[in-house]
Symmetry: C2
Subunit: 305 residues, 2 copies
């Protein structure tokens, strides 16, 4: 992709980031087909080496002559209030390669639509023709579930010994994982950690058990096997027809979440702070005050329409 | 509080847990005054000793002849899908004391209303006359912000050396903290950790800087001072009129969140899965499909009303 197209894409993502939930980009609207790219979600706790791993995965794909788009969803830093890391600073080796596009998205508090923005940005990368899209999220909360859960393959990355991380992980993230990657395989206790992880998986007694692989992003060990696994997985789900079903239910989830954002915004805009403050002063219990405001809003639609 | 009242309270909280966002308990509705109790939110990463600390705080309050209600909001365990720990098993010393009520609330996925339920349960404890209410949450995500942020004082607990925990913490939680508690003060590096924490606070350059205290819940060290601090804080905000303002804005936030839950549920119930699935099949971009559904829902209110 030439630099001009890259800049155009970058501008579109910036515009996306500023949209209200009820707005959309004409560039996404004009009926272009989405779905040619293979979307890979990579998540896990802070400090397990996700960026290095993605760097290695991207390099493998480039050797196979595929273009790679990367979206890094950064947590809002408690120190700066913004993205922790810059776009291309994260993965310096890839910055001069026009077959790679890297973009950070920061947490926006306003309408809680970070997951929607990340998934929509992935749609843009898809429209722009990237073969493989990697979305990185940091953490183990609901946003990570919403983002990785909207990918074709969800990878959860750990480092050996982070048993607390497994414990603290929300159930939803365990559910959506297609592959557990134990990075830093040279660390002490890596084999035992993989055993623990597999035991935990068995204990949970699910019909669908994610695979477990070991990598070492700093020297690239295991990354070729990981990319082989990803491609094998993608082929398999495509041929079995599972990919289409999965994407359909993902789109349904995304539509539901987007609709909730839109309706919440409509509610807030139309009811307004003054009426909410008045409801607070009524000293009704919280749920009753809320219900009353919702009734007012919904019947107000009669007048407005 | 006699065992019969305790059982009644417990049943009410169970009923609360099963309510839809649009429903409320008549027992909370009948105009009884809420606000006599001092609500203390305690949050922080897994394993820093929050339960032991709360146990010690409750014992101190009991010595001062105050009754204590404790709500422990447990994360859904990835292993069991339910609450990690039972109600009274957590704090065995307090179980035989009728002046203490302990109740766990599990994460419910259905409508995402865990924070609402926890805050409503605190209202019930308030109505039932507890002098001090402690709400424990595990983690550093949005639910913790929503719960601790609805208390009169928000405590964030760390253990020394958990610098990663500070890093991973959402900005919102740093904003709402009134007091940082460094528990396990006997651990190596505790003093340095407190310095780090204070430096981080200074770096953030906020007008309102939370206090930092050290405790050792396992031998009770520092807990008396912590309770003194809490009571001093409570007195101060009451006399300065800040408590009332804070509670008002908290109630406004709670009403907004409750209203969103109600309206989202109304939307899902009225639009229904079939129409959402049809919208997915339309191959419109996600945001446009969502906007169309919202428009249909809102204009449907004309017909329904």
């Amino acid at each position: 992709m030439n630099p001009q197209r890259q800049r155009e894409l970058s501008r579109l993502i910036s515009r996306l980031d500023r949209l209200n939930p009820g707005e959309s980009l004409p560039e996404v609207q004009d009926g272009r087909e989405i779905g040619a790219a293979f979307r890979i979600g990579v998540t896990g706790p802070l400090g397990v080496g996700k960026s290095s791993l993605i760097n290695e995965i991207a390099r493998h794909y480039r050797r196979r002559d595929m273009t790679v788009g990367i979206i890094a969803v950064d947590p809002t830093s408690p120190f700066t209030g913004g993205a922790l890391l810059g776009d291309r600073i994260r993965m310096p080796e890839l910055t001069l390669d026009n077959g790679v596009f890297i973009r950070s998205l920061a947490t926006r508090g306003a309408f809680g639509g970070l997951a929607e923005n990340a998934n929509d940005a992935a749609d843009l990368l898809d429209i722009f023709g990237f073969d493989r899209i990697i979305i990185e999220t940091v953490g183990v909360g609901q946003s990570e579930v919403d983002i990785a859960g909207a990918c074709d393959a969800a990878l959860v990355v750990f480092e050996p010994g982070s048993g607390d991380g497994i414990q603290a992980m929300k159930a939803g993230l365990m559910e959506i994982a297609d592959l557990f990657v134990v990075n830093k395989k040279d660390m002490k206790g890596a084999d035992r950690f993989v055993l623990e992880l597999e035991t935990v998986m068995e204990m949970r007694d699910r019909s669908r058990s994610p695979a477990v692989m070991m990598t070492s992003a700093h020297n690239g060990e295991g990354v070729k096997e990981l990319v082989d696994w990803l491609e094998g997985y993608y082929d398999k789900v495509q041929h079995e027809g599972r990919l289409q079903n999965r994407r359909q239910s993902q789109r349904i989830d995304r539509i539901k979440r987007a609709a909730k954002l839109i309706i919440n915004r409509r509610f807030m805009a139309e009811v307004g702070s003054e009426r909410i403050e008045a409801a607070e002063k009524s000293h009704l219990p919280v749920r009753d005050a809320a219900r009353q405001l919702v009734e007012e809003f919904l019947s107000g639609q009669i007048i407005n329409n």
